[in-house]
């Protein structure tokens, strides 16, 4: 029951992380500073290469330079492109210039992760680094995490697992190909390169980023760096600069991967006030038990009181 207790009185630490005891490592994450993103998509490519993610359709969307559109089973880094008629600087020379915003989106590795909470198999788990990862040998594709995530990060992989080799057919597939020809059926998302972290390397996207828009490191250090960066942008008069997910007091207890944005979150397709759905679960269970009791009493009384005709 201490799990429910944790929901009622959050400790501010990632749920389940404490169980590692001595094996617990420093909590790491990403600080994605969109003010220096140049939209090169090296992160998307590096992520695909390293994690052997299959292609996700070749669609011309007509939406600026964005052709992957959203995070999903086969897109773990997604660069958003927003064209705006709004000056980059707000300190007013009266200019009505245009600006082009780019943001590399990723799984937020929430402190209180809804996907992890609702996963019925225990496939989603908290790593010793405080990140959230899907164990592909456990996931049975129930899909509960998909609508539970307040950011729409996870999705089910609908293509055959024989294609799991990505676009490098000479490389071995990840794990045995269990059901060749049929769709993979499991859910996939960013692992924050769990395998690379284990080996003491930084995640592929951060390694590949040429402008340090994606910064990897201990979360506490990244938060300090972000605060300093925000203060600098404010002093320079940038329009709309704000941190997103930096605050450990937000609806998901702070993001493990947070952002510096140049406009409101919804402009980038992000929720302005995400809340971990399981925050309300103790109340929901209580409510359900009362409903179940009422159902029992209701059927019993309508059956026992009154005739059989």
């Amino acid at each position: 029951m201490n799990v429910l207790q944790e929901l009622l009185e959050p400790t501010g630490e990632p749920d389940g992380w404490a169980a590692y005891g001595d094996e617990k490592k420093e909590r790491v994450g990403f600080f994605t500073d969109t003010s220096v993103c140049i939209g090169c998509k090296a992160c998307e490519v590096a992520c695909k290469e390293w994690n052997l993610i299959p292609e996700d359709g070749r669609v011309w969307t007509g939406e600026s330079y964005d052709h992957t559109s959203q995070l999903g089973a086969n897109t773990w880094r997604h660069v958003a492109f927003v064209e705006q008629r709004k000056p980059l600087f707000g300190n007013g020379d009266g200019s009505t210039g245009l600006r082009w915003l780019m943001e590399s989106d990723v799984c937020k590795h929430c402190t209180h992760a809804a996907c992890l909470d609702v996963c019925p198999t225990g496939s989603l788990f908290r790593t010793e680094f405080g990140t959230v990862v899907v164990q592909q040998d456990i996931c049975n594709g129930c899909g509960y995490c998909v609508p539970a995530c307040p950011f729409g990060v996870l999705d089910q992989r609908k293509i055959p697992s024989t294609l799991n080799v990505g676009h490098k057919p000479d490389l071995p597939a990840i794990g045995p190909i269990e059901r060749g020809g049929k769709e993979d059926g499991r859910v996939w998302k960013c692992t924050l390169c769990y395998d690379r972290l284990k080996g003491g390397h930084e995640p592929a996207c951060a390694k590949a980023c040429p402008t340090k828009s994606i910064q990897f490191g201990p979360l506490e250090e990244l938060r300090e760096r972000a605060d300093a960066r925000l203060a600098k942008l404010e002093a320079e008069g940038w329009n709309g600069a704000q941190l997103y997910g930096r605050d450990p007091d937000d609806g998901v207890g702070g993001f493990g991967a947070f952002f510096l944005l140049l406009d409101e979150p919804e402009v980038y397709g992000l929720p302005p006030d995400p809340v971990v759905t399981t925050r309300d679960l103790p109340e929901m269970w209580t409510n359900m038990l009362v409903a179940a009791g009422t159902l029992l009493a209701g059927i019993a009384s309508l059956t026992l009181i009154g005739g059989r005709r």
Partner: protein
Amino acid sequence: MSEQLHPLSDLDGKPPGTTSWDGSITEAGTQMRSYYGRPIIKEPTWTWEIPTYFFTGGLAGASAVLSSAARVARNEKLARRALYVGAIADLVSPALLISDLGRPERFHHMLRVVKVTSPMNIGSWVLLVSSGASTTAAVLQALGKWKPLRVAASIVSAFAGPPLATYTGVLVADTAIPVWHEARHELPWIFGASAVASAGAAASMFVPPRDAGPARRLAVAGVLAEGALMQAMELRLGKIGEVYHQGEAGKFSLAAKGLASAGAALLARRGRKSRAAAVAGGALVCAGELCLRWAVFKAGFQSARDPKYVVESQRKRVEHEGTKATTKPGESPAPPGRGA
């Protein structure tokens, strides 16, 4: 929250989903600040098996209770038929759930942990107990053997039934989908009432009218309660609830109301005298309850598909409660460790 659009001629007249400088048009045709009108959250990956299971699971749970209550009331016919209906529904239910999985052969992974934070995990355990108990009781009843074990199994299924009939309301409410999560107070009650109505209706179909009085009362009471609860839910949801009047959810919702109330009226007026009316009325109510589950199911998809529901409900929260995920210059971030 939508800003004024710049009337740039080269961007005018584009179909929904395409962008203008400061706003884009979403699925429902709303012009707002969003990312090319794309959804913020994902629609569920669940297919037809899930709403159908919501119906069969509810039917199984409430039928088990009805069977035991009828046994206590010494209404043997009703007790037996309700037991069989419940057992069949309890057998169909896991088959539906397994068939919906992306990896059906791994269904037993649901039972490798006990996890109170996952309604689907708890539901799997409840279904296992309920299904095992009610089929055991039904088989022993049919064979006429081992009465003590049969009685014990019936009692277990009667107590597993109510949670089975109501947990699915928690299951859908425990997601980021606005029309489901914001209805978390009502959904378990609506699903419970719907389960009572379907169990009563199914029993009215299979039991001779002179023994089916309790079943008809349950069907009528369930339909009435669920109608009132749906109204209460829509009242609470406000604008988010508009999906219950649009698209597929709207159609299923209308069908649910029409079928269930026609069936309940038929059962109440003629079900006592005419077996044919009882069968027709019971079938109508069952169809109505199935439509109700589909209405709730489809409403969730529609609510997820359009970013306006996510943004509007969260912006309202930002205004009223001051909660948010952004830190603007000059705002001091909260000290770490306070949690969500």
